[in-house]
């Protein structure tokens, strides 16, 4: 167990290291003077010199990289070239919005996806399976941003139940917060729910025909215990893996969703940084996103090994 986790941790760190090089090099690969890029609108020779000095752009590239990493590790991600404020603060403000959005979407995807997947597998060949399959396929084929627009049309304009834009912190007004977060969460979670449903169904069909399910039935267990305690428990291994692989899409999807619903989250920060050519922010945001992604994948592997004792205890005897 420990050995396995250490191996995974080492791999993650290597990947993270490579990612940081790519991000760092990416910004330096910008056409022209990086100081120009970092300067934003302020492009007087003095300002550029100041930036070169401030960012140490006159130093050896390796030294620059080491400093970049050193600062990043202490939480200093530089200052926005647009606002002049620390990027770390901007990220600190944006993160809760995105995390709430992601958490709600994930909840939705897991509950709906696993639920529908189990029903489709248990009711194989019945109308329930067919309906679940069709809905999942449509869910996979509808682009998130269009679903967002359609939902706004339906539930914010035609029948104004939910709000179409803006963010109110949960602490300030929980009801208003949810009123504004429901549509974005549906938009972001639906595609994931479809993927989870399909995988759950496939995994459940596998495990429902397994010998140990026959054993469970031979024990006289109720259908609920057989399906939930035995078949689903085994299927979760696959489902968690798929969830992990799909979380990258969740990050991408958050960018779009925040754009549609004007939520001041991580994604909005990213897109704004691109359009305002705020490279310091962009560099930090991309690094953070990738680090988060790597971390999530590591966590998925940990969860995976908790669910499946064969991985946790692999070759113990």
């Amino acid at each position: 167990m420990t050995k396995y986790l250490l191996t995974r941790l080492r791999q993650s760190l290597i990947t993270l290291f490579l990612v940081s090089i790519v991000v760092f090099a990416g910004i330096r690969a910008l056409p022209g003077d990086p100081a120009l890029a970092l300067a934003g609108e302020e492009r007087s020779p003095e300002a550029l010199a100041a930036i070169r000095e401030a960012y140490g752009l006159n130093d050896n590239i390796v030294v620059q990289y080491a400093r970049f990493i050193g600062h990043a590790l202490t939480g200093d991600l530089g200052n926005s070239s647009r606002t002049g404020l620390p990027v770390a603060d901007a990220i600190g403000q944006a993160l809760p919005v995105t995390l709430e959005l992601a958490a709600l979407s994930l909840l939705l995807a897991v509950v709906l996806g696993i639920g529908a997947g189990v029903v489709a597998a248990v009711r194989r060949g019945k109308p329930e399976e067919w309906i679940a399959n069709v809905i999942a396929l449509i869910g996979l084929s509808i682009p998130t941003f269009w679903l967002g627009i359609v939902l706004v049309l339906g539930f914010a304009i035609a029948v104004p139940v939910f709000a179409a834009s803006g963010y109110v912190p949960f602490g300030t007004d929980p009801v208003d917060n949810l009123r504004r977060m429901v549509l974005p969460a549906i938009v972001l979670g639906s595609g994931l729910a479809a993927v989870v449903m399909r995988q759950t169904r496939a995994a459940m069909l596998d495990s429902l025909s397994a010998d140990y399910v026959r054993t469970a039935r031979a024990k006289g267990l109720s259908k609920r215990s057989v399906v939930g305690g035995h078949a689903l428990r085994n299927s979760l291994v696959t489902v968690v893996t798929v969830l992990g692989l799909q979380l990258g899409h969740l990050i991408s999807g958050a960018v779009v969703t925040e754009q549609i619903f004007v939520l001041p989250g991580f994604g909005k920060l990213t897109i704004d940084a691109v359009f305002t050519r705020d490279y310091a922010t962009l560099q930090a945001v991309v690094l953070c996103t990738s680090a988060a992604y790597i971390l999530i994948n590591l966590l998925v592997d940990v969860v995976y090994s908790v669910i499946d004792p064969r991985i946790r205890l692999g070759g113990a005897r």
Binding site: R214, T215, K219, G220, H230, D308, P309, R310
Partner: protein, 365 residues
Amino acid sequence: MTETVLESVRGRVGEPVLSVRDLSVSFRSDTRTVHAVDGVSYDLHPGEVLAVVGESGCGKSVTSMAVMGLLPPTARIGGSIRVGGRELVGAPEKELQKIRGKDIAMIFQEPMTSLNPVLTIGRQIGEVLRRHQGLSRKEARERSVDLLDLVGIPAPRSRIDEYPHQLSGGMRQRVMIAIAVACDPSVLIADEPTTALDVTVQAGILEVLQSLRERLGTAIVLVTHDLGVVADAADRVLVMYAGRSVEEAPVHDLFATARHPYTRGLLGAVLRPGGEGKRRLPEIPGLVPSLDSQPDACTFAPRCSRADDTCTAGRPGFGSVDPGTGTDAAHRAACWHPYGAGEASDTLTATPATEPARPDQEAGK
């Protein structure tokens, strides 16, 4: 208790714990109907071991699954299966759930895959106890330790928190037995319990089953195609062929004087004094008939050296081999031309497979 058990083993007293009457199972698909089991009947008395023998596809496993009520929904089941006086055919699933694992339990051929890989064995045993006996988590755990001990697993207290992949095949089959006998069922169905295991491990598993029968009085249906296992463990034998019962007899009688030509074929060289003992079923010329139809004839006739027009013109009844002893006789067969008690077998055209001799089997036990 012990006395009655022993008595019943020898003398078939009391009501049968399991009574199967005219059981038929068919599977219908869009294109064809397969009659997997066709009119099988047997009784199982307390503490008795009944071996159900036959080639693969003869319906012996389907019969067991029907008794457990574990056949897929596509199966059509006819006849009657009574356990402790309760009718199982047509009983609602909820009723069956209360009986399965409590009154009848089953162990399967594949110990490697029959346990859930992601649950501890303690949980998998305890589950049955909690379901049927309403034990608390803690009580179930204690009882599970006892059960592991009962089936001969060393250091049960430390094994209880292990996962199936940490145990060997033989150990896993012992766990399966522990699960099966957890609620002290009156009937235990063992479907090829030793087939997937090493020869050395097989003996141990059979020993466990024997001791359970002696200590708990559990009646066992032992489904197998291994005549060595039959000779070692069974009291009575039911031979099946193509979904029908062809012969039923106490184990000694069967090995000594099998009456049905198919049974003789199965026993092959075992019957010839001084001949080579054989463990596996010998080859009998011809093919097992398709189960698509239920012919009004003897299904073994096409492969039988004694077959004549009678055999293809009507289905033989399953009755006593010795006239005058009635249908309830101990030795019964379904054949128009059964062998007499002392009659020698016709020469088999099939060459017996060459396997090491097992002299201990010659006498049938």
